[in-house]
């Protein structure tokens, strides 16, 4: 059973000038996590807003929990939870006030709403600040409270739009913990993110989107394989660079490449750990002690680079294609910089 289906969604702005979604289709099986991964302006928020009934698409259809979001938005709202890109809670009210209010709006009785608020505050480590106005909360606390508000009636399908953007590493880690906990509870989750490691960590499945289209879909492993296999990397002292290049090239069967600044020698390998052992032996025989050595699987950054021809961070919100050449030269510079 698919808990979420989006079928050829199109959404344009400014009379068609901006195609926020361009025939986007995706689906999420019940009880699984899909991460929608894309740079700024890719269309992540637009998808989430359509699936959560906040926005009507120009064309295409979508359903959540088997219910058509355009025909029966009221029914959809009963089974979803949404935590938008920006924490949406009343800043002048306290954490407790907010959760009780939302609980009441979910039609819990007064007592039940208070009880549930207490429970959620406890679970998200907010009990100590329950009686302080949200204004005094840190970004991470705000985000957690926002998430708590979307969990009041245990939604079947949960939407989280960039849940960790703007959080410090600790805040992110905490948020990840909370989300993993939720997923164990069996909720179907659609999560958007700009962070490749986040998608890797939390999701069963990843949909990479760019310019309103899904450009790749699969598990993190599958996506990485699509980009290419492993690379063997060795870092040595300056005086051993030449000899090490030879050894690595011989083991790999292909000419090794060198990052002079880092004194990092690398080459693609197919035999994994075997190649690693062989290189280490040869280095030992030659009396070379590597400073660092390892096998590197391609990161999702590499995935993005190979799929779109530009790094995720390079994406700029743009309206006309005229600016695109500018972006390209930026990328060229980046590559040059890495070589120098």
């Amino acid at each position: 059973m698919k808990a979420i289906i989006a079928d050829h969604l199109v959404k344009t702005y400014r009379h068609g000038e901006v195609r926020a979604l361009d025939n986007l289709s995706l689906d999420v099986a019940e009880g699984t996590v899909l991460s929608v991964l894309g740079p700024n302006g890719a269309g992540k928020t637009t998808v989430v807003r359509i699936l959560t009934t906040l926005l009507t698409p120009d064309s295409g259809s979508a359903s959540v929990g088997g219910i058509d979001v355009i025909k029966h938005p009221d029914k959809v709202r009963e089974i979803i939870g949404l935590s938008g890109q920006y924490a949406a809670v009343d800043e002048t009210l306290t954490g407790m006030d907010n959760l009780v209010m939302f609980g009441r709006l979910y039609h819990l009785g007064k007592k039940a709403a208070i009880l549930r608020a207490d429970e959620l505050l406890e679970r998200f480590s907010l009990t100590d600040s329950a009686r302080r106005p949200i204004k005094t909360y840190s970004g991470g606390m705000r985000r957690r409270l926002d998430l708590a508000a979307s969990l009041i009636v245990q939604p079947k399908v949960l939407f989280l739009d960039e849940p960790t953007t703007g959080l410090d590493p600790r805040g992110r880690q905490e948020m990840w913990g909370v989300i993993e906990e939720l997923v164990k509870g069996g909720v179907t989750l659609l999560l958007t993110t700009q962070y490749l490691d986040e998608a890797d960590q939390l999701a069963d499945d990843i949909a990479v989107i760019d310019h309103g289209k899904v450009i790749a879909r699969g598990t993190s492993d599958a996506l990485k394989t699509q980009v290419g296999g492993e690379r063997l990397e060795v870092v040595v002292d300056q005086q051993h660079v030449g000899a090490t290049m030879e050894i690595v090239s011989r083991v790999s069967g292909q000419k090794a490449s060198l990052d002079e600044g880092l004194r990092l020698i690398s080459a693609p390998v197919t035999t994994g750990a075997g190649a690693l052992i062989e290189v280490l032996r040869s280095l030992d025989t030659a009396g070379i002690h590597p400073l660092d050595v390892g096998l590197k699987r391609p990161s999702l950054d590499d995935v993005f680079m190979s799929l779109t021809g530009h790094a995720a961070e390079d994406e700029v919100k743009e309206l006309d294609t005229g600016k695109r050449s500018g972006r390209k030269s930026k990328k060229d510079k980046k590559v040059k910089g890495a070589k120098a």
Binding site: T52, Q85, Y86, A88, L93, D97, M101, L105, H107, P133
Partner: protein
């Protein structure tokens, strides 16, 4: 029924906000009270009304109406702030009636007027305002005022939902309500105005409301009726008509706009 309880929860949210930040309530009462004092003592001396009790008798209904007219700005900026901060998206993703949020807000702003009018009434009494018509008519006048504020609150909903940014909303709605309240018989006779403006002032709902209140408080509406227009001759029914018209236009318009609203 559910729509009503949902709306009341939203209203309660606004009352809670006032409890958490009481300054808001304090300052929204201080401003009209300051107006009472300023007009009473700065202009009051130089405007000769010939009315027993002096200028303050004519002034108070004017200030009451002006203050309730500012509900438009309060509603508009409050709602626009919710929009900008994404709170509206959350409300709209809840399984509640679509109109609950806007209904709740207009009710909340309407309730705030009860407090403000009460404090102003006391301030007015202290500086010499003495309505002479009797409790029923006085009560009716306040009900008219609350209803007028409530109707304008719906215009505020529409304005708030139309704005691109909540910081603009406050300015724009004052830009609308200020001329609206001064281009009227609220503070000075319309007879002193250029002919064209006189017509505007005579048909201005604010003038009609002020005239109605003056009548209900037991005064002759000296500041109007000079151009002999229909609203100034029949202020009571005309005020009712204006309020009903405003609600008839802006309730459906605002609810519709809210349903299609997007976060800016």
């Amino acid at each position: 029924m559910r729509a009503l309880t949902d709306a009341l929860i939203i209203t309660k949210r606004q009352l809670l906000q006032l409890a958490r930040v009481p300054e808001v309530l304090i300052f929204s009462t201080i401003q009209p009270v300051m107006f009472v004092l300023l007009f009473r003592y700065v202009f009051g001396g130089s405007i000769n009304t010939g009315q027993p009790g002096g200028y303050v008798q004519l002034l108070m209904p004017g200030i009451f109406v002006q203050t309730t007219a500012f509900t438009l700005a309060a509603t508009a900026s409050g709602l626009a702030e919710d929009m900008t901060k994404g709170l509206i998206d959350r409300f709209r993703s809840l399984p509640i009636s679509r109109s609950a949020l806007v209904f709740g807000r207009t009710l909340g702003d309407g309730l705030l007027n009860v407090v403000v009018l009460f404090v102003m009434g006391i301030a007015g009494f202290l500086v010499g305002w003495r309505p002479t018509s009797g409790p029923v008519k006085i009560g009716l006048a306040f009900i008219f005022l609350l209803a007028f504020g409530y109707a304008l609150s719906w215009v505020g909903i529409f304005a708030g939902l139309s704005a691109r940014d909540y910081r603009v909303v406050q300015n724009v709605s004052f830009l609308i309500t200020f001329p609206l309240t001064f281009l009227s018989n609220a503070f000075a006779p319309t007879t002193g105005m250029p002919r064209a403006l006189q017509y505007v002032a005579e048909w201005n709902p604010v003038s009609t409301m002020v005239a109605a209140c003056r009548e209900l408080f037991g005064l002759k509406n000296q500041f109007g009726a000079t151009a002999g227009s229909f609203p100034s001759e029949h202020p009571l029914p005309m005020s009712l008509i204006y309020m009903v018209l405003i609600l008839l236009v802006f309730v459906p318009l605002s609810v519709r706009k809210y349903t299609h609203a997007a976060k800016k």
